[in-house]
């Protein structure tokens, strides 16, 4: 009897202590930012939570971009989706097509009564995540853009001027030849083959990567990166590869480490590589704009963003959406957005945050950090606003595969690009069919 009483009272005590003080609405945020960037995410949530008492943002690291997406899909299918999900830019069309699963950011802000002006966001960034009717679908969070990193010490050793990096592709080839002549084993490399050499290449030269404004105007868009200009560029790279001037270092961002380890002297890659270069490089490095072909009309226009945005999942309570809106409002404040940009190397999401950073002298103290911004803060054209294609993940892999066949000489540039366009178009047709509704 005594033991029973003890058990009952212990349970009652435990239950009463387990009931939490439910004053705050919790907002679950699933993200894919590892290590240093994960600390940035945690700090953002901590500062927001400290600035007000009604909502609590809880960030959870769910793995890489596609791992978090898979986790969110499984959670959604079992009714447990998070409020905010960070999705990479190539997943935009997939998220848009899952109409029942998401709530457009524009609607979230309007419903919550938050003052929301889409025009303060950098056009080339916001345009990527905006619907044709002008409604913003997802919140631009971490956007990078491809830039040209180069090793100043290697330049000096090869007899090149470290303060005047090559601006055009012919100049890059000349510089690479000089570097090779001075004994450098890897004059030039590139990461994210599709993103840097085809997608951003197209926008930078104001030509279409895919029809219908790169897919912005409809799911009946088809790939067009086998135009003469594209073929000419890939052929140049293939020739450079044969001569050992361009060395392929693998898919995705595998080539990044070869730059800041000093192995490769020039590399086109993400602007967000800046942090890793500062931390790891034992040489003086510089950043310049992406190279272009001077005889192409309209070049240089602007580049295409990479990175991710924040999507709001459906099926949650209105009170919780108010919290999401408050959080997005917080992230857009000039001081917060400016601090994020300076800390990570990602682009400033709003124009006021860019101006604030400029005024503070940050770009003068850290030369090269404004290259990514100047490449993006321009008036965009119909062909350079961004890319929105279904099954984009598969298309990028197809491009990687065909580029590899070109670099190892199995296919010519024209054959490889034609094959990539055909295989990619199959993916687009399938996406169009699946989303006819």
């Amino acid at each position: 009897m005594k033991r029973k009483l003890l058990a009952v009272s212990a349970t009652a005590l435990a239950l009463s202590m387990a009931a939490p003080a439910q004053a705050q609405t919790e907002i679950q945020w699933w993200h894919a930012m590892p290590t240093a960037l994960g600390e940035w995410v945690n700090d953002l949530a901590k500062d927001f939570n400290a600035s007000q008492k009604d909502y609590k943002v809880v960030p959870t690291y769910k793995g890489s971009y596609d791992e978090s997406m898979t986790a969110a899909i499984a959670a959604f299918r079992s009714g447990n989706a998070p409020h905010i999900l960070q999705v990479f830019e190539v997943g935009t069309a997939t998220m848009m097509a899952s109409k029942g699963a998401i709530v457009p950011v524009g609607k979230v802000m309007a419903d919550a009564g938050q003052k929301f002006d889409p025009k303060i966001y950098v056009p080339a960034v916001a345009g990527y995540y905006t619907a044709p009717n002008g409604q913003m679908l997802s919140f631009p969070f971490n956007s990078s853009t491809p830039v040209f990193h180069y090793n100043k010490d290697a330049f000096k050793a090869a007899g090149l001027d470290p303060e005047s990096p090559p601006k055009t592709w012919p100049e890059v080839a000349l510089a690479a030849a000089k570097l090779k002549a001075s004994g450098h084993k890897c004059p030039f490399t590139s990461s994210w083959g599709s993103w840097t050499q085809l997608e951003s290449f197209s926008a930078w030269h104001n030509v279409e990567f895919a029809t219908k404004g790169n897919g912005m105007r409809g799911t009946d868009a088809r790939l067009s990166f086998n135009s003469p200009l594209h073929v000419r560029h890939i052929e140049n790279l293939a020739n450079m590869s044969k001569q050992g001037l361009f060395v392929y270092k693998g898919r995705g961002n595998a080539a990044d480490a070869t730059f800041y380890s000093g192995e490769c002297a020039m590399a086109t890659g993400s602007s967000a590589l800046y942090g890793s270069i500062k931390r790891n490089a034992k040489f003086a490095s510089g950043i310049s704009t992406l190279p272009y072909y001077p005889d192409a009309p309209g070049a240089p226009q602007n580049t295409v963003i990479g990175g991710a945005s924040l999507w709001v999942m459906s099926g949650r309570k209105p009170e919780e959406y108010k919290g999401v809106a408050a959080f997005f409002n917080y992230l857009s404040q000039p001081e917060v957005a400016a601090k994020s940009h300076q800390r990570t190397g990602y682009l400033p999401v709003t124009i006021p945050s860019f101006e604030l950073t400029d005024k503070s002298g940050f770009y003068k103290q850290n030369p090269g950090t404004d290259v990514s911004v100047t490449q993006m803060i321009r008036k965009t054209t119909d062909k350079s606003r961004g890319i929105r294609l279904g099954n984009f993940v598969q298309i990028r892999t197809i491009v990687d595969e065909e580029l590899e066949q070109i670099w190892n000489g199995k296919k010519t540039a024209k054959e490889g690009l034609d094959s990539a366009v055909n295989r990619g178009n199959e993916q687009l047709e399938r996406f169009e069919k699946a989303n006819k509704a």
Binding site: D66, M69, T70, I73, F76, R77, T94, A97, S98, K99, G100, A101, Y248, K249, G250, R251, T258, E263, N391, V393, Q394, T397, D400, E401, E402, E404, Q405, W407, N408, K410, R423, R430, A434, N435, A437
Partner: protein
């Protein structure tokens, strides 16, 4: 003369109750997912499942029309044959050598068994580092011999890399079974042959190897299943199916289509095809190859 032993249960429900836990596990972890894969393979869904459309055999038709999918059959066949044959041959050689050792036998056995405990993904990364064109020690040494190793662009190098990683992991498992098999062969048979004047090579192939055939047959089945299914982590970490699609074995394609490309219908169709292939292979092995096994 064979005597059949029959266990008789007096109660009618006890046998069912005893196998119920195992049946439950098989139901939940095999039949349910397999059924769901079959169901999803005839649907076309968006990633989140908010819109589902019945499309019949269209996912399967799409697979047959995809030339890269048909190519991956050859890639998988080549890969499995290489892994099974190399894995069994190397393990058999090591087992024969380990069988003769008297001193320090435990040390050899432990060292040879260690790789089996390594997870496939770790094995893939390990071999990737050793052979990395820029920084790997093996590729550096090969460069010294004038052999330019680059598995990023050379398809044969890439295939060699994943075969090496897969075989390295599986040799330990095969070795254990071969060693046990060797030690169960009565020494009197081998000695009798030696007295009759048979040389070691002949003794091995006419006496030892046939008596090892049950083990060999079992390991062949296991190795084929291993090469088909459990090696995707090695491919994912080492080559991601590249260069081009030269190392995209069937199970890697299936994983990619399902979890990266989020094409659940296509991935489910591929998993059904893969299941049919492995079931067929196993049936063939049991019907025809087992006839040659001498128990």
């Amino acid at each position: 003369m064979a005597i059949e032993k029959r266990v008789r249960f007096k109660s009618w429900w006890l046998p069912w109750a005893l196998i119920a836990p195992q049946m439950a596990i098989i139901l939940v972890f095999f039949f349910w997912p397999a059924g769901q894969a079959l169901y999803q393979s005839v649907l076309q869904q968006d990633a989140f499942g908010t819109s589902t459309e019945f499309v019949g055999a269209e996912n399967y038709k799409r697979l047959w029309n995809d030339s890269t999918y048909l190519d991956s059959f050859w890639t998988t066949a080549l890969f499995s044959v290489l892994v099974a044959v190399s894995g069994l041959a190397i393990a058999l050689l090591l087992a024969v050598m380990a069988d003769r050792v008297l001193r320090g036998a435990t040390v050899y056995k432990t060292l040879l068994i260690w790789p089996y405990a390594v997870a496939p993904a770790v094995a893939g990364v390990l071999w990737l580092f050793m052979f990395a064109p820029s920084v790997g020690i093996v590729s550096y040494a090969l460069g010294g011999f004038g052999f330019d190793w680059n598995h990023l662009l050379n398809a044969n190098h890439a295939m060699a890399l994943i075969v090496m990683a897969a075989v390295w992991k599986q040799v330990s498992y095969n070795f254990l079974f071969f060693l046990a098999g060797l030690q169960s062969i009565p020494k009197s048979l081998v000695e009798a042959a030696a007295i009759d004047g048979a040389r070691p090579w002949r003794r091995f192939w006419t006496i030892v190897f046939p008596l090892l055939s049950p083990v060999t047959f079992f390991l062949l089945v296991i190795n084929i299943v291993y090469a088909f299914f459990e090696t995707f982590a090695i491919v994912d970490t080492a080559t991601q199916g590249g260069p081009g699609k030269e190392t995209a074995i069937l199970v890697y394609r299936l994983y990619y289509d399902g979890f990266k490309a989020l094409d659940l219908g296509g991935s489910a169709a591929q998993s059904v095809v893969l299941m049919v292939i492995v079931v067929t292979l196993t049936v063939i092995q049991f019907r025809y190859v087992e006839k040659k096994v001498q128990y």
